[in-house]
């Protein structure tokens, strides 16, 4: 069904991060929001994406924000970096979704939901780290990778899952000894994201905890946040709820705090 060659092909095709984005991220890294905004404006697609993203209801801004400098100013350095990475991830998404019932808008909604709630969690945990803030942006890449690898095998997957409770990640591991989150890590390496991003993402799979207690704890929060988000009707209907297995035991010990943050 899926072979190592196909996975290698997918990884090979991941484009390097565009020059404008690299420079924007470099200025954001230095905390130079104005310069970053000036560069970002040159990429019309990035500018349009940022306008749509921050004006989604979950970001909670009362008035429409259109100017990129203003957007970066309101978001601050960490969340601006997060927004740029979110845009980079959309560059990998397909024009037309087949395996999941998603489109450009619903995928951006997924990114926005995850990012805004991740910000709430980091505020609660009193963590102010740009890289950790951006780590959430890589999580939806697992959805894109699933779509890319399994879209031509929908019937087989569907039949397989009608007789056996098995998620896409497990199918991939058993066929090729590599999982969705390993491929996400490859993306992070190619895009020169911080090592911690990859570690948190791997931990957020729920099946590969890391020895670093802090990062592992963040992995638990992220795992829980993912399933909190994927339990929303629009994402259930998109077929996202069971594309990976929810490891309830892994996330259990942060659940009480999580329910406080999310006001459950």
């Amino acid at each position: 069904m899926i072979t190592q060659d196909k996975i290698d092909g997918f990884i090979r095709k991941i484009p390097p991060s565009p020059k404008i984005l690299k420079v924007t991220l470099m200025f954001l890294e230095k905390g130079e929001l104005v310069k970053a905004a000036q560069i970002a404006k040159e990429d019309l697609a990035l500018s349009a994406y940022l306008r749509v993203l921050v004006n989604k209801p979950i970001y909670g801004f009362k008035n429409q924000v259109n100017d990129i400098s203003q957007i970066f100013g309101i978001l601050g350095v960490a969340r601006s970096q997060q927004a740029v990475y979110n845009y980079m991830i959309t560059l990998l998404s397909p024009d037309k979704w087949k395996l999941f019932k998603l489109n450009k808008t619903s995928f951006e909604n997924l990114q926005a939901d995850l990012s805004a709630n991740w910000h709430k969690i980091l505020v609660y945990l009193n963590i102010n780290d740009k890289d950790i803030g951006s780590s959430i942006t890589l999580l939806p890449a697992s959805v894109i990778v699933s779509e890319a690898l399994f879209r031509e095998h929908m019937d087989e997957v569907s039949l397989l899952r009608s007789v056996h409770a098995i998620d896409l990640n497990t199918i991939l591991v058993r066929l090729c000894s590599i999982d969705l989150f390993d491929i996400c890590e490859q993306i992070s390496i190619k895009w020169e994201m911080s090592d911690n991003v990859a570690l948190i993402i791997q931990a957020s799979s729920g099946i590969k905890p890391t020895n670093d207690v802090t990062l592992n704890n963040l992995g638990k929060w992220m795992h829980l946040l993912l399933f909190y988000t994927l339990s929303k009707p629009n994402f259930i209907e998109a077929g996202l709820n069971d594309f990976i297995d929810f490891q309830i035991d892994y996330a259990q010990d942060v659940y009480d705090d999580f329910s406080k943050v999310m006001d459950l």
Binding site: I2, S162, Y228, S231, I236
Partner: protein, 464 residues
């Protein structure tokens, strides 16, 4: 969301958070109807991967449960929960618990109609005495040995006896059970369990498609276990007479075991006997009498009505059948298949050692049976994807093989549907040895295709 159906139990597994908004997105009535069509007589929602639920979240399922139970006589409920979740459900539905709660899927399967592992020693406890009794009766009827702990203290003591019990049941509740006619297979006989009053409703609760396909697949002995039948009326009498007549062309035998005629007119017995139905007092009178079993046709599952030959429609669809099989095995083994030879003849298996087989029937616009013969190596490899590890456990391999054949059947159904041919598939059957398969299939003429997967020979046989 699709359910996983195994041994007649369909389980939906939502993940994450269940509230009033999300529940109806997880499962629709169409999803449940589709599951019922896969011969599920128990529909459960697993709470194993649910970390949060509220009453509104469960209500959406409970409303669907009520509709399904009324329409299909299906057992419905929740499973796979811990004590905290069990308590929460009891609190939400204190006096209106009319669905079942099974602590695990394993426990649920003990109460399912299509169970297969009998004679389990089961320790059970419920603070509600009527519940303990109801569970014990159901378990006993299903061929198990239930032991009831009368108090929590007694349960705590008994549970310490290691290896004394195969399964321990607690935090379980039997709501209204389904009233479908339970079906199980013993050797080459099919046993249907019927109870209470038999009336016109038997036409709805008896799975006639399953029965017809069992005849097609080669079963000849059908036993109605009727110990708990109080009486039957003329509608049920007509039903059984017709069933006997329709089975006669296959030379099938229908027996009743344990049916008393205290409240049923004795003339009914004569009418049924005239239709060829036989009566016995005890199940062992049949199952432990080898000579009788042979006379009744259960020692061999050979299909007497095998004169059905391959027809043009079936041969036209052959590429679809092969395609479905090859793609499934390729998917499961990640190996490429090479077609080696095609013959139309009786099934021919030169080497019988280290091979296992399985079959699945289909019926509808066209009907027939697919038989797959696997070298044990390929079977093990194919099963690895589902099991996740290598195994030599024969029972597990056969079980998984049945799932695999189910996938092939499902794929055939889809491919045919795309061409406007509508079929349903039967439950899969597995054979531990080639000899067991040949008892059913050696006289059948069909298309035999030899395929090679990484130099291992694999055999596909399509027949009617």
């Amino acid at each position: 969301m699709r359910a996983v159906v195994k041994s007649g139990v369909g389980v939906f597994t939502p993940q994450g958070f269940l509230d009033g908004n999300s529940s109806s997105a997880f499962i629709s009535m169409e999803d449940i109807e589709a599951t019922i069509k896969l011969n599920a007589d128990m529909i459960l929602v697993s709470l194993k991967k649910v970390i949060f639920f509220n009453r509104n979240g469960l209500d959406a399922f409970v409303k669907m449960f009520a509709k399904i139970r009324t329409a299909h006589h299906t057992t419905v409920g929740f499973c796979d929960y811990d004590y905290k979740k069990f308590q929460a459900i009891n609190k939400f539905y204190k006096n209106e618990l009319n669905f079942c709660l099974f602590q695990s899927q394993e426990i649920a399967s003990l109460f399912a109609s299509s169970f297969k592992n009998q004679n389990k020693n089961i320790l059970l406890f419920s603070p509600d005495k009527s519940q303990s009794a109801a569970m014990a009766i159901e378990l006993h009827d299903n061929g198990h040995n239930p032991i009831i702990a009368q108090t929590q203290e007694e349960f705590n003591i008994k549970i310490k006896a290691q290896n004394a019990y195969d399964i321990i049941i607690k935090d379980t509740y039997l709501g209204q059970m389904g009233q479908k006619v339970a079906t199980r297979v013993t050797g080459n006989a099919i046993i249907y369990s019927v109870s209470s009053f038999l009336d016109a409703e038997i036409g709805n609760t008896f799975n006639i498609s399953y029965h017809n396909n069992s005849l097609n697949v080669g079963f000849r002995l059908f036993i109605f276990e009727a110990y708990k039948v109080v009486s039957m009326n003329v509608h049920a009498l007509n039903f059984f007479s017709k069933l006997a007549s329709s089975g006669a062309e296959y030379n099938a035998t229908i027996c009743f075991v344990g049916l008393t005629f205290e409240k049923t007119p004795l003339s009914f017995k004569e009418t049924l006997e005239d239709s060829g139905i036989m009566f016995f007092n005890q199940m062992d009178d049949i199952l432990k009498n080898k000579e009788l079993l042979e006379d009744l046709g259960a020692s061999s599952a050979a299909n007497v009505k095998t004169k059905r030959v391959l027809n043009k429609v079936l041969v036209t669809e052959l590429p679809n059948f092969i395609n479905a099989t090859v793609r499934t095995i390729e998917m499961m083994t990640n190996a490429k298949a090479v077609k080696q030879s095609v013959n139309i003849n009786k099934i021919e298996i030169l080497e019988k050692e280290n091979k296992i087989a399985s079959s699945i029937g289909f019926y509808g616009d066209i009907d027939g049976m697919i038989i797959l013969i696997f070298p044990t190596g390929i079977a093990k490899k194919a099963c690895e994807l589902l099991i996740g590890e290598q195994t030599d456990d024969e029972e597990m391999i056969l079980d998984t093989l049945a799932e695999l054949v189910n996938i092939v059947g499902g794929k055939v159904k889809t491919l045919l549907y795309d061409e406007g041919v509508s079929v349903d598939i039967t439950l899969p059957r597995t054979y531990q040895s080639i000899d067991a398969l040949l008892e059913v299939a050696q006289e059948k003429k069909g298309v035999q295709v030899e395929l090679s997967f990484n130099n291992d020979k694999f055999l596909f046989f399509l027949t009617r």
